[in-house]
Every structure is written in C-alpha cells, then in structure tokens.
Amino acid sequence: TRLTLLFPAVRTRARGGCREVPAGDLLPASVGRLGFVCLIPDTPCLDAKLVLTRNLKTKSCGYLRRIITLSDLECDYINARSCCSKLNKWVIPELIGHAIVTVLMLISLHWFIFLLNLPVATWNIYRFIMVPSGNMGVFDPTEIHNRGQLKSHMKEAMIKLGFHLLCFFMYLYSMILALIND
C-alpha cells in the first residue's frame, strides 16, 4: 500500500493535508523487496552475471526505497533530518557498488554493459565530489526542500530505478543464455 505513494495523485492530496507532527519512519524494511520475485535459481554462482543480477536486484530495491523515503518526506511522514541521514548512508555504498560493477564489466570485457554503466557511475562520483564543504552529504536536510531539490532527487531516483530494472532483465537474459550455453 505504501507504493501508492509513488503515484502523483496521492502525493498531491497528501501535500494539501498537513500534519503537525511527522509520524516518524513508518517504512517497513521489507518493502524494498516488493515486486521482485526471485527468478534466479538458488544455486552457487556460476557466472559473474549471476552475482550481478543479485546485486542489481538489491540495488533496484535500494532505489525503490529511496523513492519511498523521498515521497515520505514530501508527504510529511518523516522529517528532513532523518530522511537525509537515511539516504546519505547509502550514497557511498551505491557509489562503490556501481564502480565495482563497472570495473568488473570492464575486466570481463563486456563492453556494451560497461559503456552502459559508465555514465551512471561517473554521475554518482561527480555528484559525490561536488557536495559543498558545508553540506551534510548529497542529501542536505537544510536544502532538500529548496529550489525543487526534492523533485530532482526524486526524478533521479526514478531514472536510476528504470535503468537498473533494464539492467536486471538484461543480465538475467544473458545469465540464462550463459546457463543454456553451458
């Protein structure tokens, strides 16, 4: 049901209504798993791609969670401070994870996938480096409500979610292909 928050209509309604006290974090930890039924057999990894697929799966979940957290913030369910600290925690893991994937692809000479991942990885690093010295991370609680930052973060998370979903199926496909070829 929390997923409904993703739809703009619901969000606008919630924006009109204002709650005096943020209800705190109501986000169930398991929500991130929604919608990703494991299609992969639970066998020891035969291929790097399998690892990647799993990695990807959790990552997409991560973005989903980010979107949910952001929309919580937008709807006043959570306050900016805790929202940002929650999100900032994952910025570095995301950055490292993606960098590793990209490098792995390069090493295993999957050029196409490497090139696909490169811009995203670069963007992650760029964004991390460009944080002004006085800010508390990529997500700064004092600025997140200003100048439409919330919206742009949301948009970014959406795009990444799409990207990773795409990758997920691509990897899945190539993994199955690899399994069959074996």
């Binding site: 009109g16 204002c18 006043d76 004092t142």
Partner: protein, 1204 residues
C-alpha cells in the same frame, strides 16, 4: 509606531481591535445580560445599547461634543430623535476614527462608525462592515435623486461645509482634521496628490463627492424619520431580517444584479434614499439573502432566519466559551514607541463603544489607498439605512477628507487607479457597473465609468527620461485590488506582503511577467495590541488544518467553507456564541472572523510536552583576544541592568559558560556563598560536571548571578590563553540545554582554533576587491550546521554575537544560528575603548536583545490556497517538512521570505489566501498561536499583474534569492541574475504595450523603482564587486538580507537621504508630544548634496550626517554645538542636546527614525573633507564609482540588453 513613516499607520490596526477586545467584554459584562439580549432581539435595543455606549465614552464626552458642535449644524443635532447624547458619542467616536483612519480616508468608514455607534448596536462587527458598505454604496443610489432636491441634504451640505467635491477642499479639510483631532503620523500632502487625484480620472473624486453628498443628506433624513421608522419596524421580525441581510450583503461583494434592481426600484420610488429604504427594506432583505447565497465570497446565507429564530433561546453556554480578551502585555511593553496617532486612548474607547468598530479601523488601516467607494455594493444601502435610523450626518465632512492625501499619494500607483472601470479589472467591473445599472443620474454615474483611464500603477514611465523616479515620501506597500470589505479585513502589509498583489492565474502568465512570486513575512512583529482569543476549540479546517479566518465563507449558520482547500466544515457549537456581543448564532462576528491577525491561546493539543520555561544560556569567549576587546564589561553591565526585564516567569532559568582553550562552567546553585567555577579541560569529549546546578532559577539565585556578573569582567584580565575552543563549548551548551530547550547566546571574538569545529582562515585580503570570483561564501565545515540541527531538534536556538577585529569565518559560524532559528550580530573591529561607536551599538543592541519578546519551541506553517505551492524558504530556521518551519526561538525582529509557484491554474477562483500560523510558547509559559491571513485577487491579464507589483517586496525576495545563488553558485551568477531580472521584466512589459517606443526604456509606474533598487542591490555590500569588501562584512550583509524583515531590509538596500539643515515644521507629525519634522527624501546622488547643506543618510544600521564645507554656521552651532565647520571633531557620534529649535528638530527627527527600528543605529557625523566620507559616498548609489555603473548608465545597460 513601529516603523518609519510608511508603516506608521498599521499599528493602528492592532490597537483598535485589541482595545476593543480587551475592553469590550468587560463592559459588556456590566450589562444585565437578559436585558441586553432581550432588547437586542425584541427591537427595543436602541435604548439599552445607548446606555451601554454612553458610559463608556463618558470620559470623552466633552471633547466629543466639542467636535460635534464644530462640525455639525446644531439643528441637526436636535433632529436626532434618539437623543443628542448618543449622537454626540457617536460623533465623537467618529471624529476620532476619522482622524486615525485618516490615511485611509474612506468616507464610508467614518460614516459607518458613527452610524453604528449612535445606533447603539452593542458590538456587532458585521453591522459595521455592513454599514460601511452601505454608506459607500448608498451615495450612489441616492445620487440619482438630485441632492439639491432635498432641502435637508442641501443644508447639510452647506452647513457642514466639507463636501468633498473638490480634492483641494478635501485636503484642506483633512489638514484641519488632523490638527484638531489627533496628531497624525502623516507626511504633508505632497503636491502630486492633486495631480493624481485629478488624473485619476475623476472617478474617485467624483464618486467620492457623490458619496459625500447623499450620505449626509441621508443621514439627516434619518435623523428625522429614522427614529420613527425604527420604532415602527424594530419589533417586527422583518427588521431582524433586514438587519442580518444587510450584513450578508455587505460581507459579500458580488451581488447579483436582480437584487440591485429590486432595491433600486424601491429607492427610486421614494423621494429620498433614506425614505426609500424603509419601504423597500422588507422585500429587499427577504429576497436578497437567498440570492446572495450562491455567490462566492463570504456568504451568510439564510442565517438570518436562523438568527431570528434562535434569538430567544437562552444563552446557557455563556460562561464556558467566554473569550478572554487580554492585551498582550509583552507586546505592549516591547513595542517600540507607538505613534501618538496610533494609540491614543480615545481610539480604544471608541473601539469599545463601537464594539467591532475597531475592526473597521484596523482594516481600513491596512488599505491605505483611497478606496473608491463605488466598488462596494450599492444594494446594501437600504437595509442599513433602515437598520440605523439615528445616524448622525456629520461623518462625511470628516471621514471623507480624511482621505489622506499623503497616503494616497504614496499608495496611489497601485491602489488608486485600478478599480476604475478599466476592462482588465474583471473582478471589479461588475461593481463599476452598478452605478450604470442603477442609473442614477446618468451623467454622473456615467462619469464614474468612463473617466477611468489606465490605472496609475500602469502608467508607462520612460525611465531614461524621467530622472526623478524616487518619490519624496517613503514608498508604501501597494494595496491589493480587492473590494472594500476584504481590503479592510486584510492583513497588515507590515506582517505579510506578497511580491505581486494580484496573483496571476497560471504559471504561464507568471512566467510571461518574469517577476518573482513570493511572500515576505514578519510574523512575530511587535504589535501594539492584537486580539487574543481563548477558546476551548480552535476552529480549523478538517482537511487542510487552516485556521478560521475572515476570508472563509459561511454557507449557512452551521457550516463554513475553507478558503484554502474549499472543504465544507461544521461550525462547532461553541463557535456559535459570540462572547463579544453575547449573542448566539453569529459565528461570522467572532473576532477570529473579524481580524486577519489574531492570537489563540492553544490548548494542550498543541503541546508535545508541557510548555518549557524561559531558559537562557550565555556562552562567552574569554580568551586573550576577548578580554582585550573588552566586551565582557558591556555585556555584564547590560545583563545586570536588564536581569529583571528578561522575559520569563517564575521558572526562568539562566546559566553561564565561558571558554578559552578549556570550558568553564559556573555552579550557581542556590545556597552557595559564591559562584563556583568548574573547569573542564577535556574538550574532545565534553561532559557536564554537575548537570543540575549549572542552569539555575533566575529568581532563586539572583544574588549569585549578580556576583558572577560583577566578577566576570575582571576574572580573566591576565589570561594568556589565545586559543578558542568554540566547538566544544557549543557541544557543552547543547548538552546543557537539551533537556529544556531555550536560547543560547554565543559571544565569540576570533576564529575557533581548538577542538571540534575549528576553522582556518580562508580569506585572501588581496581578493577583497576582486571583480571576478568571491570564494568562501559558504561554510567550511558542516559541524556548525549539524550542531544547529541538533539544537533545533531540542528546541534550542543559538544566537551569535561576533565581535572580532579580524577574519573569523562568519560564513561557517553563522550556520549555528541560521539553522537553529537564532540571530546573528556582527561588530567588526569591536573594541570597547578604541571603537566607542561599536561599543555603544553593542550596548544598545543588547538592551533590545535581552528585553525583547521571545517565543520558544515554535513552529511556523504557511498555507496557501490550493493550486499554489511554496518551494523555497528564506530566513533563519530549519524546514522540517514541506511547509513546516521549525523555529527553536522566534524573536520580533525576524523576517522570512517564501517563494511560490503556481502549480494548478487558478481560473476557478477569484481570490487566493495565504495563512501563516506561528505556534510558540511565550516566555510566560503559555502556548499561543499567532495567525496572519492575507487575501489577494487573482487576475488573468498581464497588465493586471504589472499593476499589482509590490516592487519593494519583489526586490527583497530577489535579494534573498541572490544570496542563495551566490552561495550555491557564485557571486557573479547572482549579479547577472539580478540584472536579468530587471531586463526580463522590463522587456516583458515592453512587449505588452502597443505603442512601443524602441528608443526608450519603459516601465510601468509600479515598477519604476525596480532598476534603481536592483542597482542599489548590486552596490550593496553583499553583492558588490570591485570595491574592497571584507569577506565577513559581505557574509554578514547576506545573513541580514536573509533574516531581516522587509522594512529594515529596504533601508539596507536603498538608504534614505534627507536634508536636515532646513528642517521645518511643515508637514511635521506629532509623536508623543514631540514634533517630528518630515523632510522630503532626496535622491541618492552627489548632485543633491550641496556644500551649503547638511544631510542625514539613514542606512538602517548606520546614520551618517554629512556636513557640507560651507554649511551654514548657524546650523553647525545650533545643532552640532561647534562654532564653525573647522572645529567639528572627526569622530562625532552624538548630537549634543542644545536648547535651540533646529537642534530640537534634528534630534527629534533622528530619535524618531531610531525608534522605528529594533537595533539602534550608530550615528556618524561626516565632514565633507574627512576620510570617513568615502563610507558615506559609497551609499550614493545613483552615482558612478570606479567599479560600478551610475544609475543612468545602468539604465542604458539594461536597454542594451533588452534591445539585443
């Protein structure tokens, strides 16, 4: 009066209402309850109410009568069947009113007041409103019947001798008026006024005169016939109906035309309007309600009938819902001097007797522009006439002329013109048509329609040719183009302003106009008085939680429609009873619905914990540098003096903490023989040595505290410690404060050099005058930001006093205050003996700081009509969620700005509202909510948007945005953005006007100051380049831009220049028995400075007096106390108190300017040849400097951009 001239008027707002509320109930209670109600409903009310009224005003009576006699012809008095006494009372009240309302002129107001008062309505706000409208409208109706036809009217006319037919007459009269009845804060009528009035299309003048005539006539008539009529009608229910219907009408502006015609026919059939209305009344009143009903606006539906029926029911609920109207003591104390005009006793008396009359006052105060009466609805006239037969005629002579020339002049651009029939004003068109519809004497009615050229605010001004764009009087806030009623109810522009007083319908239109849309708030302003409401249930919209406000509409007696989200809500039972009038079933007359600024005493629902006590912690730097600067002496002295005045109650707690490279706590526990100092040298992991006894009760440990304060300045005199561990000290302070919350005042004199949060010097002195890049405007570390957020979470605000002589990285340090809702004070090169002016400033600032009002654990929520959304906030606070600002402390000097965008088209609404609700704990431990509501019209054409620009608000919002931009991007970006703002808006305007002169730079009159102000911004310390500016100074200027309220900010941006060697009493105002001259404003250009003169420049926080080389020796001797120019000392910061006229004038003027601002400015006397004059000359922003354009060059620069 809080603010200089421009804003002087508004305090009245508050005075009046609160006076009324505060005293109203008391008076009312003295009445026998039963009789009152009985009377009220049975229709015999006139007598008892008179009784009510008279005693109240007894004190004033003689004066009143005097006035009365003066203005009114005696026969008239005799004519009033209800007895002259009440009449006199009313007239007295009126006189006061008109005097105080002066600026706002509207004849309707005056008339309304008097009529109501005399009629003796206990205190029903609605009636007032109604009567206003009616009066305003009435004239029109009656106009049709030639005024000459009625002998009485004629007589009145002449005898009263103040028929506002000619503007000139008006003026003279108003002058007289002012002189007689009260000292008005008004500047003298500026000469333009006449032009304006005339150019104004005669629309206003005509209609005014029209209104003036008939109403007097009408009044007279009523005096004769009215009493009879009342007697006859009152007992019958139709009267009740008519009464309430009239209420409805006038609250609800758009009346359907059928109604009009009905009434009209009645009117025309009768010979005189007054007579007319009586016959017409039953029909009109009965039919109107139902028709009115569907209209938008405020509707009171068939409430009438309900009311009538519910009338007899005994009021059992009286006690529980009693409204406790108390004057806000603190506000009263704090508020800087109130102008005499603003708070004369009589006003509140009037308020008293009039019941809701203060509302009128207040509302009219907030609408300074002359309200063209025609806007209001003519149909409502008859009913009031019927309802208030004993009206006294005189108001007109007075109320009318009071019309405030000065004001009008100032406000004219936006306010005066627009309502006339120009087609763009769709909202008002219908009103404008009424006269036509009614077809009064066609000639006159027609005139008011035809003679409406372009509104003044749209008059194209050729900027490159018009060299004198700056008006000689201060610029006033434009008045939203609303109808009279709403305008009167609207929030004071001092508290709440919008950059566009006409909101564009769609984002596309807004984009086309290229103007910033946003709000400027000063929510916790010191108000002389404001209505305070205690109620068990605070009525709010169930879905958007909006507080009930004057702009909601009542669908029927039991339901109201939210004006922000349009949800229909129930009116709770408790709200049905109006403790002011002690009547039941009049929810629309409750003070919440009559005032756009109210304060609620909140119940426990609004508390997350019991209200906190006032807790003050002082964190003092005592390193060598600090001791050298010597601020401790001043601080301790100020604290000792003001210890008893610290806001708080018996629970107030106070604590001290000093630091150098270690942290010193002071145990002040009651019972100790002397304060104990506890030193913690573990700065990496600070702990509290004794958690309980460091913050102590102020009253219990007062002796110890005094001992400490006396000892502190000398305790560290021999210190050799040069380090400063500010970070750890702040952490300690946070730990100390976190259980309660409160205020931490940090005094810092150097760069923190130890422990967490240490900073490096980042400023490169060689870059100070760089024209390219200015770096390090942002914080160097997130330590202070995190700390501030932690503090904010624990309801602790950190106020920073930075008293340093070198670079101290204010950009980083300021974060501790920015996000914890604190305030920042900066005293560059502070030294208690070497720099006495700074020392004096600190002393005065501290006095204000320590004693001003304070609110704890506050949150502020800003709501706006569905379709609009807020996206960026400016000020010192932490945005906790989308529209909730968390303010650990709120102080009366804090201003805020909000940027808005239009998300959904506003086509289906004609009004938008904004509501600010500030929930705070007062220093007395009460939870309170202060609510401001602003209502603005929606327009669909670009011309209207331009007509409604509030250029000052726009510039302040732009300044805020530019600060953000320079921190997040770069200073040059911000400067470009400022220039582009002018270029875009002017070129967008240029493309809307048809007769485009390509060679000229055309701006609408409402925007004519825009380029000047932007140029001023570019030359402001915060944004200037090329002139040597220390980084800290620049950052401090930015901080001020972010958190100053509009009035003060405007002075910082564009100082005021006055010539003071020839002050005269011409146009002077009277403040507290002092005559304050009002010299005209001068252009900020060296061409205005003559060697023979002396000039005063008011830059907000600094005053400069520039003395020309060949300045008159008399002036130098009389004012400065020096024999000649050569003997004037170089550093002069005071004007001696000399017993000469010119000295007295100069001093009273300067004192008056000073009193209008929270922080006392420093005065510098600058001789023409002294080195200090560069300081002075850099504020002459219209002149060219090496690094920046002159005004004319800037215009050319803009023009080039536009042509590109």
């Amino acid at each position: 009066m809080q603010f200089p001239s421009g804003y002087g008027l508004h305090p009245q707002n508050y005075i009046a209402p609160s006076g009324h509320y505060a005293q109203g109930p008391g008076k009312m209670t003295s009445l026998p309850l039963d009789s009152q109600h009985g009377d009220y409903y049975s229709g015999l009310y006139t007598v008892p109410t008179q009784n009510v009224v008279t005693p109240n005003t007894a004190g004033q009576q003689p004066g009143a009568q005097q006035m009365y006699g003066r203005v009114l012809p005696a026969p008239h008095m005799a004519g009033s069947a209800l007895g002259s006494f009440p009449g006199a009372t009313s007239s007295a009240s009126h006189v006061h009113t008109s005097a105080s309302v002066n600026h706002h002129n509207s004849p309707a107001v005056g008339a309304a007041n008097s009529s109501v008062a005399s009629q003796g309505f206990p205190s029903t706000c609605g009636h007032y409103a109604m009567s206003t409208v009616s009066n305003a409208a009435y004239p029109r109706v009656s106009y049709s019947s030639p005024p000459a036809g009625d002998p009485y009217g004629q007589q009145m006319f002449t005898s009263q001798n103040a028929p506002p037919v000619r503007p000139i007459r008006d003026n003279s009269f108003s002058g007289q008026n002012t002189a007689i009845s009260h000292p008005s804060p008004l500047p003298p009528p500026p000469p333009q006024q006449y032009h304006q009035e005339q150019s104004l299309s005669g629309y206003s003048t005509l209609s005014w005169s029209a209104s003036g005539l008939p109403s007097t006539q009408d009044n007279l008539l009523r005096n004769h016939t009215g009493s009879l009529a009342t007697a006859n009608n009152n007992p019958t229910s139709p009267v009740a109906d008519s009464l309430s219907s009239s209420v409805m009408q006038n609250v609800q502006p758009p009346v359907s035309s059928p109604v009009v015609s009905t009434v009209l026919s009645g009117a025309s059939s009768a010979r005189t309007p007054a007579a007319a209305c009586h016959p017409a009344e039953p029909a009109a009143s009965v039919t109107q309600p139902s028709e009115l009903f569907q209209q938008k606006g405020m509707q009171y539906g068939d409430y009438v009938n309900n009311q009538a029926s519910s009338a007899p029911t005994p009021l059992s609920s009286t006690s529980d819902d009693e409204e406790e109207e108390e004057e806000d003591e603190e506000a009263g104390v704090d508020s800087s001097s109130t102008t005499s005009s603003a708070s004369p006793g009589p006003n509140s008396y009037d308020a008293l007797e009039g019941g809701s009359y203060p509302d009128m006052l207040s509302s009219s105060a907030s609408s300074p522009a002359p309200d063209p009466a025609p806007e209001s609805d003519p149909t409502s006239a008859p009913a009031p006439a019927a309802a208030q037969p004993s009206k006294v005629a005189k108001p007109f002579g007075y109320g009318y002329p009071a019309l405030q020339p000065g004001y009008q002049n100032a406000a004219a651009p936006p306010g005066a013109g627009p309502p006339s029939a120009s087609p763009v004003y769709s909202g008002f068109q219908q009103y404008a048509q009424y006269p036509g519809l009614n077809q009064l004497s066609s000639g006159l009615g027609g005139l008011s329609l035809q003679s409406a050229p372009q509104p003044e605010s749209l008059r194209p001004v050729n900027l490159t040719q018009d060299r004198n764009v700056l008006p000689v009087t201060p610029v006033w806030a434009p008045v939203p183009n609303l109808n009279l009623d709403l305008r009167k109810l609207n929030c004071s522009p001092d508290s709440f302003r919008c950059t566009l007083t006409s909101i564009p319908q769609t984002q596309a239109l807004l984009n086309k106009a290229k103007l910033p849309l946003g709000l400027l708030l000063h929510p916790f302003r010191d108000l002389t008085q404001l209505p305070v409401i205690t109620s068990n249930t605070i009525v709010r919209c169930r879905s958007c939680r909006t507080y009930i406000n004057p702009f909601v509409s009542f669908i029927d007696q039991r339901r109201w429609k939210c004006n922000l989200c349009y949800r229909v809500n129930d009116v709770p039972e408790e709200f049905m009873y109006n403790p002011l009038t002690r009547s039941y079933g009049e929810p629309h007359k409750r003070p919440e619905v009559q005032n756009s600024t109210v304060e609620f005493i909140a119940s426990s629902d609004y508390m997350l914990r019991p209200p906190q006590p006032a807790v003050y912690l002082f964190v003092l730097d005592v390193s060598h540098n600090a001791v050298e600067a010597g601020y401790l002496t001043i601080l301790c002295q100020s604290l000792l003096e003001n210890l008893d005045k610290l806001p708080g109650d018996s629970r107030t707690r106070i604590g001290f903490l000093t630091f150098d490279s270690t942290i010193h706590f002071y145990d002040l526990q009651e019972g100790l023989s002397q304060p104990q100092m506890l030193i913690v040298s573990e700065i990496d992991d600070v702990f509290l040595p004794t958690p309980d006894s460091l913050l102590v009760n102020l009253h219990e440990s007062k002796e110890l505290i005094k001992d400490l304060l006396n000892a502190l300045p000398t305790m560290f005199t021999n210190t050799r410690e040069t380090h400063s561990a500010l970070g750890p000290a702040l952490q300690a302070a946070f730990k100390l404060m976190s259980p309660t919350g409160g205020r931490v005042s940090v005094f810092q004199t150097q760069l923190p050099s130890l422990g967490a949060g240490l900073l490096q010097s980042r400023e490169d002195p060689n870059q100070r005058s760089s024209t390219k890049v200015v770096q390090h405007l942002g914080p160097a570390t997130d330590f202070y930001k995190k700390l501030a957020l932690d503090c904010s979470g624990q309801q602790t605000a950190v106020d920073l006093f930075l008293l340093s002589s070198q670079y101290s990285d204010l950009a980083s340090l300021a974060c501790m205050s920015k996000y914890s809702a604190g305030c920042i004070y900066y005293y560059p090169s502070f030294h208690c003996t070497h720099n006495p002016s700074q020392a004096e400033k600190l002393q005065k600032d501290l006095r204000r700081y320590l004693t001003r009002k304070i609110g704890f654990e506050a949150v502020m929520r800003i709501r706006c009509t569905k379709g609009l959304s807020m996206h960026t906030f400016h000020g010192n606070f932490f945005v906790r969620s989308t529209d909730l600002l968390s303010l650990a402390n709120i102080n009366p000097d804090a201003g805020f700005a909000v940027q808005l965008s239009i998300e959904e088209s506003l086509t289906d609404t004609s009004l938008v509202c904004f509501q600010t609700a500030l929930l705070y704990t007062s220093s007395k431990g009460e939870r309170r909510i202060r609510v401001h509501t602003l209502c603005l019209p929606v327009v669909s054409s670009l011309a209207d948007v331009y007509a409604g620009v509030d250029v000052q608000a726009a510039i302040c919002l732009l300044a805020n945005m530019a600060v953000d931009r320079s921190v997040s991007s770069s200073l040059s970006d911000a400067r470009d953005a400022l220039v582009n703002a002018v270029v875009d808006s002017l070129s967008a305007y240029g493309s809307t006007i048809s007769n485009l002169q390509h060679s000229a730079l055309i701006a609408p009159s409402s925007l004519k100051l825009f380029p000047l102000y932007v140029l001023a911004l570019l030359k402001q310390k915060a944004f200037r380049t090329g002139t040597s500016t220390r980084l800290d100074d620049r950052v401090y200027a930015m901080c001020q831009i972010k958190c100053q309220p509009l009035v003060h900010l405007m002075k910082m941006i564009h100082p005021n220049l006055y010539r003071i060697d020839r002050l005269t009493d011409e146009g002077a105002i009277h403040v507290n028995d002092r005559v304050v001259p009002q010299p005209p404003l001068q252009k900020l250009s060296a061409e205005k400075l003559t060697r023979e003169g002396a000039f005063l420049m008011d830059c907000g926080s600094v005053f400069y007096i520039w003395i020309g080389k060949s300045c008159d020796n008399n002036f130098i001797e009389d004012v400065l106390g020096c024999p000649n120019f050569a003997s004037i000392p170089q550093k002069m910061t005071h004007l001696p108190e000399l017993d000469t006229l010119s000295s007295e004038r100069a001093r009273s003027f300067i004192t008056w300017l000073r009193d209008n601002r929270p922080l006392s400015p420093v005065l510098h006397v600058v001789k023409d040849e002294s080195p200090a004059k560069t300081e002075f000359f850099q504020h002459l922003i219209e002149d060219r400097t090496e690094a920046a354009f002159s005004y004319y060059e800037f215009l050319l620069h803009i023009q080039q951009h536009i042509c590109k």
